[in-house]
């Protein structure tokens, strides 16, 4: 694991809001965390909790009607929110790269694999010589376990796993520091998925890239990630090293989440935990802690005041009143207007 001090990305008080016909949705709500250089950070949560939005926000790729309404994303010491469009374009691809859920559609169907790669290099490094480009692409693609002759294929001729590897390659070809994999393995079948996950870890080791793995599959995160971040309703519930969190989940949501993962052991007669309630409607989120209506350990303050994501132990951050000092004012009953 990388040196704790070596931070690649600092996210500070990030807000993303979607204006919908039914009202605005705060999909990412005051999120602050760090991504360390060279780590694999697993970002998990239910569908609609804002994890994909967060991933896109890191590249400022939120599309209208969504909007980043506040906060900073400090990448290598520079706040990318201050970047001009041109700087942003340079940033995308060269510094970060993104892999999407559906490998069928994330490559241009009428463009060959090598054309994708050549285009990426030409856009970002216009001075590179043709021969160098070819060499770079060829060695990279072979490193990813794709045969050289596949370069002249069209995307529909590749398998799903190969396409995802091409997507990874498109990030690596420009030496991106951060690869955001947004549900990148979800649509693959189990064996292919396992292969790709292994490969991602090898790539991390070999190229030293940082990977943000966005997924709803906790088992997958357990296998690959160094740290895990659990997201609930647009906020972080808990962040910590993977083993610590799995052994001793602190936030009640994390606890519930881990207990609801099915185990493959056949003799395990224990029933799966079913979390009560439903994810909140984000147009009108619950007051205070967004999890309190479903929380088995909720205390009165939870409904009134929102806790903060604070470090409780070494490297572990939890967003829960159970683990932090409750403010003095909480002692007085406060009327909260609806």
């Amino acid at each position: 694991m990388a040196n704790e001090k070596d931070v690649l990305v600092q996210i500070r008080n990030l807000y993303v809001t979607y204006g919908t016909r039914l009202g605005s949705v705060s999909a990412v709500d005051d999120v602050s965390f760090d991504i360390y250089r060279g780590e694999i950070l697993g970002l998990v949560g239910e569908s609609g909790c804002g994890k994909s939005t967060l991933g896109k926000a890191l590249m400022r790729m939120i599309k209208s009607p969504g909007e980043i309404t506040g906060g900073q994303v400090i990448f290598n010491g520079e706040d990318i929110m201050e970047y001009s469009d041109k700087q942003m374009r340079d940033f995308r691809g060269r510094r970060t790269s993104m892999i999407f859920q559906d490998p069928m559609t994330s490559l241009n169907p009428v463009q060959r694999v090598d054309e994708h790669m050549i285009e990426a290099i030409e856009v970002h490094e216009p001075k590179t010589k043709k021969a160098n480009i070819t060499d770079r692409i060829t060695s990279l693609i072979e490193r990813l376990g794709i045969q050289k002759r596949r370069l002249t294929d069209y995307p529909h001729q590749l398998s799903g796993g190969m396409r995802q590897r091409v997507m990874v390659g498109l990030g690596l070809v420009l030496n991106a520091h951060l690869i955001i994999a947004d549900e990148a393995t979800t649509s693959l079948d189990v064996i292919v998925e396992a292969n790709l996950v292994d490969q991602l870890r090898e790539i991390r080791d070999e190229f030293g890239v940082t990977i943000l793995m966005i997924t709803h599959n906790i088992a997958l995160v357990a296998e690959i990630a160094d740290r895990i971040a659990v997201m609930y309703a647009g906020r972080f519930a808990e962040i910590g090293p993977i083993n610590d969190v799995f052994e001793d989940p602190m936030h009640p949501y994390t606890q519930g989440l881990l207990r609801s993962v099915p185990s493959i052991r056949l003799d395990d007669q224990e029933e799966l935990y079913k979390m009560p309630g439903e994810p909140p409607n984000l147009t009108q989120p619950p007051s205070g802690c967004r999890f309190h209506p479903r929380c088995p350990q909720a205390i009165p303050i939870c409904a009134r005041i929102q806790p903060e994501l604070l470090e409780t132990k070494q490297g572990r951050l939890v967003n829960c009143w159970l683990f932090q000092d409750q403010p003095e004012e909480a002692a007085h009953p406060i009327m909260v207007t609806a």
Binding site: N13, Y15, T17, Y18, G19, T20, R21, L22, G23, S24, V25, S26, D29, D30, S64, P65, T69, G70, T283, I305, Q306, E308, P327, E329, I334
Partner: protein
């Protein structure tokens, strides 16, 4: 609230503030909601509203053309080819000073000669005044007895010279033409106006047979709407059920029907309509049939496509697995899903049908020749394209306006209703 420390919360509430109009949306009635929705839909909302208002007006005009049209569209109400707003020239009669004539009647017999410049509107004035005299004498039971011989001259000077020499008994010209000329001829004098009442002009002018263009244009709305709407409805009545049944039953029937409909669809619509209309002959019913045939495949294809996609959706499968009857599924589950696209297509279809109908009339097919119809008027106007722009401009404008309203409604409705294109 005294939560001073809890700054993130405050920040959050400002960051996620919901615009007031969105909150209002849940609390107001349907009409206000439509009004407020303009902020969401932007330009498309305006397209819908503008076209709806236009259509309302057009439909009222189409139902009650008599309220708007100043004249009977078939009656000859003025001189031919009068430009918009131009008053018909007041023609005067010039006579020899010594003839002792005091009114036109006296020189309007068979042996009299009346002169005017060849090809000028004076000929119209001449015909009109003679017609009026005859009508008068007929009413008095004396029969048509006035029939002076027209004498056409190349120029006004020639005519006045002939009058002076006694070759003709009277000369018709407008005061403007006579000014500065009549003084050169000593033996003649201006008797006075030919017509008693001074006509006002026509807003859109008159056509080559003296019908009021405005009235014909207004009455044309009725024909266009009748044909456009009826043919679209006929097409729906055939296309939608065929599409529903074909897609629902599937198999050979579906394949055969699809092949036929696709062929029909790929054939140039207007040419199909031309051939059907030519074979069927003139008549409004025949036009409706000829046009309706073109659009049956459009409805068939869209409905069939929708049914096929809805049919495989889970809730329909679920209903089937619960033992719902085929007809129940078709009526309760599938048909409602198809309605929005049919509405959109209907609107576009009416626009197209009106264009096709105008084209058929323009080519001389379909409607009886004297019908007040834009296509017929345009075809006639084509013969006068060098002289009378108003014969083309006004009916042309009306066809375009009506078509525009229908297609604008259809287009913007599809932009609003089509979930594939609207973002949330």
């Amino acid at each position: 609230m005294t939560e001073q420390q809890n700054s993130p919360e405050k920040k959050a509430s400002t960051a996620t503030e919901i615009p007031q109009w969105q909150l209002d949306l849940d609390q107001v009635g349907f009409v206000r909601r439509i009004f407020i929705a303009r902020k969401w839909y932007g330009g498309d909302w305006w397209f819908v509203v503008v076209s709806a208002v236009l259509l309302l007006f057009i439909i009222i005009v189409g139902i009650f053309p008599q309220w708007f049209a100043p004249y009977d569209p078939r009656a000859e109400v003025g001189p031919s080819l009068l430009a918009p707003g131009e008053p018909p020239s007041a023609y005067v009669l010039v006579i020899r000073t010594d003839s002792g004539v005091v009114e036109f009647k006296q020189i309007a017999n068979r042996d009299n000669n009346i002169g005017f410049v060849i090809g000028s509107p004076a000929s119209q004035a001449f015909r009109e005044v003679v017609g009026a005299l005859n009508a008068e004498s007929q009413a008095a039971g004396e029969g048509s007895q006035y029939q002076p011989r027209p004498q056409r001259f190349e120029s006004i000077e020639e005519g006045l010279a002939a009058l002076e020499n006694g070759e003709i008994d009277g000369y018709i010209a407008s005061p403007d033409e006579l000014a500065g000329v009549v003084e050169n001829f000593t033996g003649v004098e201006i008797l006075g106006g030919l017509r008693v009442e001074a006509d006002k002009g026509f807003v859109m002018g008159t056509n080559q047979i003296g019908q009021d263009v405005l009235s014909r244009t207004i009455w044309g709305t009725r024909i266009a709407l009748i044909v456009g709407l009826s043919s679209a409805i006929v097409a729906i009545m055939f296309g939608v059920p065929l599409g529903l049944i074909s897609a629902y039953i599937g198999g050979t029937l579906d394949r055969g029907l699809t092949l036929v409909m696709d062929s029909l669809y790929s054939f140039p619509g207007l040419i199909l309509a031309i051939s059907i209309a030519a074979v069927l002959g003139a008549g409004i019913g025949n036009v409706i049939v000829a046009i309706a045939v073109l659009y049956i495949p459009t409805y068939y294809r869209i409905v069939r496509g929708q049914v096929l996609s809805v049919k495989s959706e889970l809730y329909v499968e679920a209903a089937r697995s619960l033992g719902a009857k085929g007809s129940t599924i078709l009526v309760h589950y599938i048909f409602p899903k198809v309605i929005p696209s049919v509405v959109i297509i209907f609107s576009v279809n009416v626009a197209d049908a009106i264009l096709t109908q105008a084209a058929l009339s323009f080519l001389g097919l379909g409607l009886p020749p004297d019908t007040p119809d834009w296509g017929i008027d345009l075809a006639r106007g084509q013969d006068y394209v060098r002289r009378a722009w108003w014969l083309i401009a006004f009916p042309g404008l009306m066809v375009s306006l009506v078509t525009l309203s229908f297609s604008m409604l259809g287009e913007s409705l599809s932009e609003i209703l089509n979930p594939r294109l609207s973002e949330l």
